[in-house]
Symmetry: C2
Subunit: 315 residues, 2 copies
């Protein structure tokens, strides 16, 4: 059966997938794996019993575990879906419990640090294929997930040199079946690309929302009331999960600081244009930036509706 997720597998490609962490991404994975029949069984682990109970109520998996070490029992694929900073600890915990030949993967927004954290704890016969689906919403938790989250989004694989080709092909096939487009690059290039397309945008969104909240001359009520002038677009990503994002900045520090440095330099130049009344300079920049938007829309990574289609049907 073909649908928006590509094709449903006649036979599962994994016998049992263990998903460690049942938040927005982990719960979306569980849903879509079942939808496309990618695994015979799904084991879910989360350190929070509330999250685990909620996952069980939603029927997201076959077995539910507070212990990651128990969840990986019998699994031929294990996917870490936790904040970047806890991958190392979990890898240490499960390392001795993994099945021979298991494929280990993750969904972290940072890749060099995650490879360094997980790699050393895996047994030699495990295959590690780091992955990062570039998809998400500002919401968190098992209820926030949905099967179509990865459809028409990119999933970047960053296998270290020498990774088993069959394992990479299998993870690639898995993400392809979710409707994602798979790309392969080095972990360090990934971290640079994501610093500018995701990490620094989040950082400056968090920053301006913080700046606005701290003003004395303008009240918080005024900020909220008149947010339709542009500010509210920033608040969406500044409402993203604080733990996940704290870890992104701590673990992709070098690339983020590098890209942030360039952003700040450019902002200083822009500030000077305003101070000097350089209308032509401003106009030229504002014209150039429109082209990027056009590219994103035409590549299907954005809606063509004005205002994100917020007023869909209301016109």
């Amino acid at each position: 059966m073909a649908d928006e997720f590509g094709s449903r597998f006649a036979a599962p490609i994994f016998e049992r997938v263990a998903i460690i962490g049942v938040g927005l991404i982990g719960s979306s994975l569980a849903r879509v794996i079942r939808r496309v029949n990618a695994a015979g069984k799904i084991s879910l682990a989360d350190y929070s019993s509330d999250v685990l109970k909620r996952a069980e109520t939603l029927g997201l998996g076959d077995t539910y575990h507070l212990s990651a070490a128990l969840a990986v029992n019998g699994a031929d694929a294990v996917i870490f879906c936790v904040p970047v900073g806890v991958n190392g600890e979990i890898a240490r915990e499960i390392g001795g419990h993994l099945e021979p030949g298991v494929i280990v993967s993750d969904v972290g927004s940072v890749k060099v640090a995650v490879i360094d954290a997980i790699g050393p704890h895996l047994p030699r016969e495990a295959h590690f294929v780091p992955a990062h689906p570039v998809a998400g919403t500002e919401q968190s938790g098992p209820d926030a997930g949905f099967a179509a989250l990865f459809a028409n989004r990119w999933c970047i694989l960053t296998p270290p040199e020498g990774t088993c080709v069959e394992a990479v092909a299998k993870i690639s096939r898995l993400w392809g079946s979710f409707g994602a487009n798979v790309e392969i690059m080095t972990a360090s290039h990934h971290d640079l690309v994501l610093a500018i397309t995701s990490h620094v945008p989040h950082l400056i969104a968090y920053n301006i929302v913080g700046t606005a909240a701290d003003l004395e001359e303008v009240t918080r009520t005024e900020v909220i009331k008149y947010s339709a002038g542009g500010f509210r677009d920033f608040t969406r990503i500044a409402a993203s999960d604080p733990t996940m994002w704290r870890d992104v900045f701590l673990y992709n520090r070098e690339a983020v600081l590098e890209m942030l440095g360039r952003f700040s330099e450019d902002l200083t130049a822009l500030q000077r244009m305003i101070r000097r009344g350089d209308g032509d300079g401003l106009f030229n920049l504002f014209t150039r930036t429109r082209a990027i938007r056009t590219g994103i829309v035409s590549l299907g990574q954005e809606t063509t509706a004005p205002d994100f289609g917020r007023r869909a049907g209301g016109r």
Copy 2:
């Protein structure tokens, strides 16, 4: 008849409204004025004959003029809907042609500079009620407008001291009939509030899109492909009209530079937290910013759907 625009007037409140500039805002105004029967006749003026022809094809007005001075003939209300920087020139052009007792208003995103530019050219018997509807999309031109643009948005009036109370009440009633919520404040406070809720957000959006476009290590294709990680939210407002925004920064220079200074200070502090690995500091900021989002959503200035509802129906 009551609908999303409030009530339709049994009798028009103006005999003839002249709208100077038929872009996104001017054309939306023409549409909603007709929809709620706020004026007996609508005169449209634009310096571009292409825009004017398009407006005529769309049937947006009753008369169409390349000359603003001719458009105001017989009008008891005149609304400037042009980029902030050209208001003065147009005011000089039409000043001698205004009818006695006419109410003049505008829709500019900057108020102190616009009052200074328009005021001196108006005859003593004209009433000037500056206005700013906090609404818009990233699209431009007469085709982009729609009657519901102002519904459930704020419209800020900044009448200078001594402005005729009846004129303010009439403009207030006009915007109310479009479904907008009217607020009154001083022009200088308006310029400060909008600097943080609209002008600086646009500036940093333009800036990061510019930074991303200029990178050598990350290709433009990569920026576009992986934009779903956060970057694409910024591109929407960085696709806004370049002429309009150039003028906003040139004419609200002081307030923008003041707010930009605070944003930069805060960003430097955030940069230091990352460099020093201050996870608690990052976590605290990222938690605080969620509250602002909640306020905006609960005040009806934003959709509750995750991801702006981009995937509405696709879940």
